[in-house]
Amino acid sequence: MSELVMSNQAEKSMNNEQNLTKSLGFWIYLMTDCVLFASLFATYVILRGSTYGGPSGHDVFNMPAVFVETILLLTSSFTCGLAVVMAKINYKQAALVFLTLTFVFGAGFLTMELSEFSNLVAAGHSWQASAFLSAFFTLVGTHGLHISVGLLWIAVMIFQVMKRGFTDGVLRRLTLFALFWHFLDIIWIFIFTIVYLMGVA
């Protein structure tokens, strides 16, 4: 009996060690993503004024819509956090509900962003019109691409939670997903400030 307990503990500490290693790796990956976004931000700031006679941010940004987008994304981060809390106390149903909510809010954000993009293109302000618009579409689009990856990740997580419950692997991936999703929030705060708020100021 005592041997069994010992080996269980040993296995637990091994899993714990593995989780720490993997989350450290993921943190470092997020850092590299930060540098990627920093490069895009730097380029955007340099090219912001290069409108080539076309519109500037002041002319094209629709602030009320951007505000709603922001609310959607921040709310999705909140529900994502709740999903992790529910997973930690092993409350499967609630975790699934909050994951689904996160997906819905995230998808709503992405839909609004895509509609902003298509409105701009329809008005003749596509990414080909000026260096400013190239930088704008690329920076915001890269964030949107990350959101899309995140949505795929949520879908996989929902499936895994339904199928397997909260195994060590599922819990680990869920925690890492939450990190990723919060990270996208932070990036969005920067986009909201540097691109939109400073763009219309």
Partner: protein, 666 residues
Amino acid sequence: MISTIGSFLLGRLNWSALPTEPVTQGGAVGVVVLGILAVAAMFYFKKWTWLWKNWITTLDAKKIGVMYIIVAILMLLRGFSDALMIRAQQALASGNAHGIVSSDTFQQVFSAHGTIMIFFVAMGLMFGIINLVLPLLLGARDVAFPFLNSVSFWLFAAGMILINASLVMGGFSPGGWLGYPPLTELAYNPGPGVDYWIWSLQIAGIGSLLSGINFLVTILKKRAPGMTLMKMPIFAWSVLTMTLLVIFAFPILTATLGMLGLDRLMGMHFFTSSFGGNPMMYINLIWAWGHPEVYILILPAFGIFSEIVATFSRKRLFGYKTMVVALFGITFLSFLVWLHHFFTMGAGGDVNAFFGIMTMIIAIPTGVKVFNWIFTMYQGKINFATPMRWFMNFVVTFTIGGVSGVLMAVPAIDFQVHNSLFLVAHFHNVIIGGVVFGYFAGLTYWFPKIFGFRLNERLGKYAAYCWIVGFFVAFTPLYILGLMGATRRLDHYDGQGWQALFIIAGVGTLIIALGIGLQLLQLGVSIWQRKKNIDTTGDPWDGRTLEWSVPSPAPAYNFAVIPTVAERDPFWEMKEARKLGHMPKAPVYKDVWLPKNSGLGIIIAGSAFLGGFGLIWHVWWLAAIAVIGVAVTVVLRASDDDTEYVITAAEMKSLDAPHHQKGQLV
């Protein structure tokens, strides 16, 4: 209708993509024939299963390291043949003569030489050697993320195949190894060459970034018990600083190549000469990556030399702590100097002065390291084996290269020698003398640990002599030519009396070619006579660090029992203790978990390759399939919790027993 379907299926791919110039045609035919022969040989000897099970799907870092090095050696031959063509062209194309290739092909040749040598030779040798020995040095079973390691390698291989495909279809980029816009923009360069360059580097670069993360976590999390950071072998420190550079620099490359790709693919205007594009932004971004990149290459070489000098002087490394401080100093400073690559672009006196001084300051920590190595040798019992010969070559060459670097860090002097062959000579002085010699030294040093037998010493020494003599014969004339005003990338010049110097440089390249030939011969002879040079002790050089405490070749699980470390140079201390009669306790075996083989790594990289190919030729359906392929594979891997197999304690005991009976292990 048919042409619509054709352009849907094949994009802009058509017969005109085949090479037209005889030199390129020869190269293309050669590559295709060799490829077909290799595949045919695999079928003839029925080796596909063996290849798949033992190599392609392996997650063993040591085997992945061997594959990196094979790719790097193949690419060294490719990149070196480009070098021979450059030297032949410049030796011949004086006055009325026009050399062996057209101006356009020449641009492709020098771009290919630079790109391939940096991304696929130097990086390949570096990641190869780190994979071979880092876990062994740390007393670890494996890297932190073995599967990610396999993905990294295959992305590297995919990038390599993609860029070489341009030899057969579409031609290489003529835009230099860093692809400056607006020259590389669609308006001036509509062909697929630049796209090959972008997507190949993008794919290989992401592989490098993942490797960087992997090795950093390995060092932070996988060290043997007792091995504090300040007890780590200095090579591990050098890898740690290198990974920090990778983590901060490679995302910049990803972003920069991405933007250039978007310009070309989607008609954006980041770096175009019109629509408000800013080519200077590209130059800043590419060097914010590119300058750290040269330190990414050199730092692990410094680490290798530190291990080698200590081992072959039979002394502790002198100034361990200052070595660590110097590594971090170089790491930090390397991010503050990128602008010295464009002193002449009008940034103004203040900015140039700042970047000039920062550049010169790097010579201080580098000098600290050189002196530490020399003090390590002082009063040591030096064994001038081949790795030590490479080290001696390095000290002389690298010091001269460093001095010419400090010279060019003076903005006023840079205005004079900017874009001249002086720069080319300086750059090769540090990269060949530092990086290439360092990795050759490391390969010779650790070869027995991986393959179980030593390389032939005599041929290795001859090769080192050829390299050092060839190097100075090839590059001293370039320093002189540069001061005389000869620019780099010169495909023709009038008879200013330069030709004699160019011919001498060409002769130097031939001497280096002899050196490479001797190295290949060395490898062949050593394999042929492997019984004679077999390493039965596991410790052929009387080593100091943990990798020498396991048998050669190192088993898949590295250590039967993970060692506990109390000192720096732990294996040396163990041997000393043994001499004093302190016999080690009998080992306690435990179950060992190792990663199962996985073919998903090559599938991810294969998808990336197809995606790159699709984007280059505008075959959109192929690119779409590639994205889906990567996503599905990643999800599959993430859903698989059964990725390890176990070697039980009893099995481990029986695997380990023969080495104990031979008294190999202490």
